[in-house]
């Protein structure tokens, strides 16, 4: 890898790691896993950096790796998950007036793909086309997953007054 690519990668890591970490946090639900996810994505991106940075941009590739890994990790965790007598997290949210926290909690209770769509569309502000590219799926799938996710969020008792509408895109 040339000096230019190394410098470019260094700048990207410095400049984008906080934004990537926020997306990863919403995808994984905790800070530790989010940091692991960002590092894993960047480590996977580095061997192909010259091609990635010359193509559609590193963000799309890194986000795609993050989403795939997050879904993969979530599947593995689900296999080992042991329930207790408690109902899912979203059912037990206290009547907290802090709407953003309630919203994030509700988003974190969504299935992995729907959560990924919400994170990319509304946190990263990607268009439906960009989100589809990041997820490696059709635009129609992004639309349907978004609709499903928003419909689920509308059922959350703490979000009854929130206007949940998809943005154009």
């Amino acid at each position: 890898m040339g000096v230019d690519a190394t410098e470019d990668f260094r700048e990207y890591v410095l400049g984008r790691q906080r934004a990537l970490l926020r997306t990863a946090w919403l995808l994984t639900g905790d800070r530790g896993s989010a940091e692991d996810l960002v590092q894993t994505a960047l480590l996977r991106a580095w061997p192909h950096w010259s091609r990635i940075s010359a193509g559609e941009g590193p963000d799309a590739y890194v986000r795609r790796v993050m989403v795939n890994k997050a879904i993969d990790w979530r599947r593995r965790r689900w296999n080992g998950e042991v329930p207790t007598e408690q109902l899912p997290e979203c059912q037990y949210l206290p009547p907290d007036p802090d709407l953003p926290q309630i919203l994030v909690g509700a988003v974190r209770s969504l299935p992995a793909r729907q959560r990924a769509v919400i994170a990319l569309r509304y946190l990263d502000d990607l268009s439906e086309i960009e989100t589809a590219a990041a997820l490696g799926c059709a635009v129609g799938t992004v639309k349907s997953q978004t609709a499903k996710a928003l419909a689920t969020l509308r059922q959350h008792p703490g979000l009854a007054n929130l206007e949940l509408q998809g943005s154009a895109g």
Partner: protein, 353 residues
Amino acid sequence: MNEFAVLLDQGVPEPQAFLDPEALLRRAHRRQTVRLSGALAATVAVVVVVGVAMWAPGQRRPLAAGAPVSPTLSALDDAVALPTSLSGEVGPVGAQPHQPTGLGVTAIHHGQTTVYLAAATGDGVCLLLENSNGSGVESCRAIADLTTRPLYVVMDSADGRPVQTAIVMPDGYTTLTLGSDTATAAFNVAYLPAMTSTHCVISGPHVESRQVDLGPDPLPPARAGSSPQPPAPTGPVSAVPVRSAVADLRYPVNVHGMTYGSLAVASTHGGKAPDLIAASGLDNTGAHVDGYFKHADMPVQAEPKNPADAAALMAKAVPAKTIPLYAVDGTTVIGTFTFAGRAAAATGTATAH
């Protein structure tokens, strides 16, 4: 940016930088070196093994094909309760090797035809069809058999001509080619509203293409599959699930009137748990078995009224509780399900879905 996006932005914490690019680059270089060394060692090993196999006297034989990879259906990861109109298709457990569990996804919606992919007992999957004539289970298969015995349904017109087809495409297979028509799989199902041939090919960018003969349907006549009209004009197939309003979702009901399903989808079912909750427990031989436990059997814990209450409750040890695991009929006991106590180990012996 609308209110939703603004609130989401506020809710996600603004982190500090945590990565040192130099350390990351060192780690990336180490990783690359290890991978190259590993790849080189693997290549040398393969060459040696192949060389020995090919040239050893009397040992020449064709190389065995690679071990088959078991097919998977990732669409079922997002399975939710199927519409109540299909609940009658959930037959008694044991009557067939694979019975729809009542959980699935809407794979295709085209005109008046809707194709559902349903999770089935015995690690199986079923194709369910709903159109103006009604609904029905078209056929079921073990997921592991999908690439050797493809699961598909051919719908006939009133005069018996095959006119439409839907085929289950395992993960990796993306394109259905039938004569000059092609369809892309959505939710692991590809659908063609017009049928010009009974020989099709399923393929994907990273899998070996397979030929599938859709000749006379090997299954009993489809109850819902007969279309009274000639095929609709070919057009773009909508792969968007039709049930965007999850408020209408209901759990399926078994023969005894008990609702059943996964606790994981309770949030999309009015926040209510079903009477029978899907879970993996242990049978009398100690092997894992999938079934349902009764909601009424779940341990009850007092709701804390304030933080002090919550702290006191958390301080109390909770004993483990073992309850019966039932078949979907809610009466046949097939095993047990254990709730791990709080003083017990962090991992338990069973999993609820």
